[in-house]
Structure formats: structure tokens, C-alpha cells
Amino acid sequence: MTLILEQLLNGLLYGITLFLLAAGLTLIFGIMGLINLAHGSLYMVGAFVGAWVASQTGSFWLGLPAALAGAMLAGFAIELGVMRRLYARDHLDQVLATFALILIFNELTVLLFGREPMFVELPASIATPIELLPGLVYPPFRLLIIAAGLGVALGLYFLINRTRIGMLVRAGSTNRDMVRALGVDIRLLYTMIFGLGALLAGLAGFMTSPVLAVQVGMGEQILLATFVVVVIGGVGSIKGAFVAGILLGIVDTCLRAFLPGVLREIMAGPEADALGVGIASMGIYLMMGIVLLFRPQGLFQAGG
């Protein structure tokens, strides 16, 4: 039972990460009609900058603002240098240009930090597991991530539903031309949204850096899962990104944790492990297929 609870918490953690990435991606698509493959690179930038600053200064917490600033600056640079020219282009050009950005970011990271993974040392105060329930010990840092992620989700909810920018975002995701017609400085709005997306990606990157290895290619791995979240949640919908992100995070984590064990009941150990991991890796994609069968537009419509 405690094992299940622990995996549920791990799933929630992964789900929060997916949500932070998917929220930015879905906003950028919803408002600007842009498909950004390089979103995972911003996640990687956040992780690397944060890990590097933390290791140089010896202070984990100094890594956080550095990660956020690094990802946001990278986001602004991409937006001003590349994305601006792509808004009016078709998806194919966007895919290729952002694919090129991935290659560039990955190689630049290799040049700067090398190919070896970096590991982040956590302060003992949040690294030492505490007992949540009798028998359930869990590192407080992970709880902190979950809390922070939920906080961000709440903040986004208010931003979207209670502010003028949010109003434009909602209007823009259903009717892009209308926002243009409102006389808003579209360029500024786009840059801000892109920066916000980059910030969230950088946050996700920094938050997961103590849990996962910080290495080149980490962005693409999670980018694909993020795409699945965006598609299942409904392209352009923040609410969808949240629901689908949490759902997929939990499903994926639980499949990986429990499926090999279940399969071992009916077949030999090593084969069960291999098959279990294989099916678990495919789990979220299969879910996407099932959702598409019934709701080709995803669970939620844009604007929510």
C-alpha cells in the first residue's frame, strides 16, 4: 500500500513536470500557431544553468533564479531571433527551424558542459526523507516540487482567468485574428508568452535536475511525452495540459513500477522485465491512440 502511495507521488511529480512543459507548449501553439520542437531545449537549458550555478556557488537555491533567468533569456533570444519570422510560415518550416535549434542547442551544450551528465547535490535539509505516514518515507524535496508545481498551476489559472493578458490568451487561442483586431501590441504579447513558456520549461528543468541526470538529450526525451500530453489534453488548452499531464505522469510511473512485477507472475524474470519496460514505455502513446479514437480534438477544447 505504501509502495503504491509512493509511486503515486512519483507519478504526480512527473505529471507536474509534464504539465509545466505542456502548458508553455500549448500556450505557444494556441496563441501563435507555432509548433516549437525546441521547447525541450529550454528545459535542458534550465537544468544545465541551474546545475552549473549550484555547483559553482555551492548553493542549491542560487541555482533556481539562475535556471529561470537562463531559460527565459534563451527563450527571448529564440523568439526574437528565429520564431518571429516563423509565425506566418507553415508548420513544416516551423518544424524544420526548431529541429535545427535542437541540434544547435545540443551541440552548444556539449561544447560548454561536455557529454558527461551533471548531478546536483541537494541541501541535507530537504534531501533527508521524512515519514509522511507510518511506513511511507519520502524526500521533502520531491514534496516541495509537487507543491511548487501545483502553485504554478494555480497561478496560471488566475493569470488566464483573471487578468487582461489572460483574456487575450483565451481570446487568442480560439480566434487569433480577433486579438490582432483589438489593437494589442502582438509582438510584445508573443514575446511575453514565449518568455513565460520558457520560464516554465526552465523551472521544470531545474526541479527535476536533482531527480534525473542532467545531460544532453534530456530535452527531447521529455518533449515527446509532452507532445502526447498536449494532444490528449487538447491543443491550446491549459486545463487539458494539467489534467492530461497529471494523468499521464501517474499512469507512466505506475506502469514502469508495477508492470514488470505483474508480468513476472506469468513468465520468466528477465523477459518479464524487458517486456514490462517495453509496454510501460509505450503506455502513454497507447493512451493517446485510445483518446484519439473517441475524441480526435483531445479531452478539452482550446481556451479552457
Binding site: H91, L96, F99, A100, L103, S281, L292
Partner: protein
């Protein structure tokens, strides 16, 4: 048209004598490079068929390339082990069996994936094709029997009747013949009734619906044909490399195929050959020059997309226009 045919004939003659020239001048690597270019040209042309003629931006085309690759690998594995697959499908190392099997299996996979993915359009379609391809990547990686992440080694290559295709020159000619046949077939398809309808759907799907064409079925048919083409290329690649690898399904491979199509010009018939050649030559020379060749490749690609209106096709068009308007 006549000019076209003369040009094609000349190109085929050049490709036919290339191994002899390479041997005479000691440039043996050229044969291998050209073989790979021809294989990728088939895969890129099949992608161009749905992308350039059908308007479907698939970011998961490597899935079918990889399936063709693995079919050859798996059939060879069971041939070498002498154990039938699932107890009743015997293995094979005969090219005339493995190639058609690869094409059929890839076509079936395209039918399944396409029937789901084509329920969406635009950016969802891009993401979904990408995700399904990645799912198959994980599937093959999890098959420990077939090497997992390491893939299957096809030690003995395949045989064409009694001819062993371990011989690179023999394989070169097999690839050349298959490529010529493939492009001849593709030419027919593009200019057929179906090809015309598909082109109409790319230009204006709503109009085609208003003419009584249910676009879904046509797009799916095109998607399956393209999957079969990629499967063919993947199968050839497995025989040529004597290796079936999960890397052939990796999403970056789908990206590379897209780049080839763009470099050659979207929707141009022979473009994918030029695109595959440009990409592989560039890659080969950049990789020889620096281990960070991906940085250079990324910058070049970005420059092409941003520096021209409408990607590389725009680049070629504007160069062509400039050449035409220049005073003689």
C-alpha cells in the same frame, strides 16, 4: 518529356559505371555513400509523396523505414537460428522474400497508424505521427530477443537467388535497380487518377469534399503507399548495412528524412534524390571535419529555412528566377 528521358538515361548510365570508376580511382567509399544516398532517396521520395503531393506533414516516417529494417533483421535472425517466428513463420535470407515482406508489414503498420493519425490535422497530426514512431522505437528497443538497443546483426546479408549480397558492388546494383523501379512506379502513381485526387486534396480539401471526395480514405491510401516505400528503403538498408538498428526508427531519423525532402524541394519529383545526396554528403564531410557536425548542420538548416521565403524550395525558385532574369 524527351529531354527528361535523356537526362534520366544519362543519370542511370552514370550511376551504373560509378563502381567501375570508383575502383579505378581508388575512391571505394564513394560506392557506399552512393548506395546510402539511393536508399534514402527512396525513403525521402515516399515521404515527399504524402508531404509534397498529399500535404500531410508526417514527422514519424522513420517508423516505416525502421519496420522494413527490422523485418529483414528478424527474418534473418530466424533463418540463422533455424527457429520459426512464433513457431510457424520460417526465417529467410532471400531478398525476393524479405523485401516484399518488409514492404507489406510496413504498409500494414502505416494503415494502423494512419487510420488513427489522419483523424487529426495540422499540428496534432505532426505530433501524433512523431509520437507513434517513438512508440515503435520503444517497442523495438524492448525486444531483447532481437538485441534491444543494439539491434540485430544480419551477418550473412541476404541472397538474391545464389548471389550473395555481402558483396558491396552486387548490393550497389541491386539498390540501383530497385531505386529505378521504385521511381518509375512512383511516377505512375503521381500521374494516376489517385495521384491527381491526392494533389487536389493538398490544394483544397474542402473543395474536394464538395466534389464528393471523402478525403480521409484517399489520404490513408496515400499514407499506406508512402509507408510501404519507406519500408522498402529500410529493408534495403538492413541488407546493405548487414544490421537492423532501432536508430532507424528514432525520431531524429524522421527529422532527417524531412530535411532531405526540404533540401530537394517539396513536391518536386526528383527532388528527394538531390535532397538525400545533399544531406548525406554534407553530413559525411561535416562529420569528417568536426565531431560537432550537428551544430554546423543545425546552422545551415536554420539559415535555409529563415533565409528564404518558403524554405529551400523558395531558395531554389529565387535562384532560378535570378538566373532567368540576368542579362545574357
Amino acid at each position: 518529356m524527351r529531354q527528361h528521358l535523356i537526362f534520366i538515361a544519362a543519370a542511370i548510365v552514370c550511376l551504373s559505371v560509378l563502381p567501375l570508376v570508383a575502383e579505378a580511382t581508388g575512391q571505394l567509399a564513394l560506392v557506399g555513400l552512393t548506395s546510402r544516398i539511393m536508399i534514402y532517396a527512396i525513403a525521402a521520395a515516399s515521404l515527399n509523396f504524402i508531404l509534397g503531393y498529399g500535404g500531410m506533414v508526417s514527422f514519424g516516417h522513420a517508423a516505416f523505414f525502421g519496420i522494413g529494417n527490422y523485418v529483414v533483421g528478424i527474418l534473418y535472425f530466424h533463418h540463422a537460428e533455424g527457429v520459426p517466428l512464433w513457431g510457424f513463420i520460417p526465417g529467410s535470407n532471400q531478398l525476393l522474400i524479405t523485401l516484399p515482406t518488409a514492404v507489406l508489414v510496413a504498409g500494414f503498420a502505416a494503415l494502423v497508424i494512419g487510420s488513427l493519425a489522419l483523424r487529426t490535422r495540422g499540428v496534432q497530426f505532426i505530433m501524433i505521427t512523431l509520437a507513434f514512431a517513438q512508440m515503435l522505437y520503444f517497442f523495438f528497443v524492448s525486444l531483447k530477443t532481437y538485441g534491444g538497443e543494439d539491434g540485430v546483426i544480419v551477418r550473412g546479408a541476404n541472397d538474391l537467388f545464389a548471389l550473395s549480397l555481402r558483396d558491396k558492388t552486387a548490393m550497389y546494383y541491386v539498390i540501383l535497380v530497385v531505386m529505378v523501379l521504385f521511381f518509375a512506379f512512383l511516377w505512375r502513381v503521381v500521374h494516376s487518377s489517385f495521384g491527381t485526387v491526392l494533389s487536389g486534396i493538398r490544394q483544397n480539401e474542402r473543395r474536394m469534399t464538395a466534389m464528393g471526395i471523402s478525403s480521409y480514405r484517399y489520404k490513408l491510401y496515400g499514407f499506406v503507399l508512402a509507408g510501404m516505400g519507406a519500408g522498402l528503403a529500410g529493408a534495403l538498408m538492413a541488407v546493405f548495412m548487414r544490421f537492423a538498428s532501432p536508430d532507424t526508427l528514432h525520431w531524429t531519423k524522421s527529422g532527417e528524412l524531412l530535411i532531405m525532402v526540404i533540401l530537394g524541394g517539396v513536391g518536386t519529383f526528383f527532388g528527394p534524390i538531390l535532397g538525400a545526396a545533399a544531406f548525406l554528403i554534407l553530413q559525411t564531410y561535416l562529420a569528417a571535419w568536426t565531431e560537432h557536425w550537428q551544430l554546423a548542420m543545425g546552422l545551415i538548416l536554420l539559415g535555409i529555412v529563415l533565409g528564404t521565403k518558403g524554405g529551400a524550395k523558395g531558395l531554389f525558385d529565387s535562384i532560378a528566377r535570378k538566373l532567368r532574369t540576368e542579362p545574357r
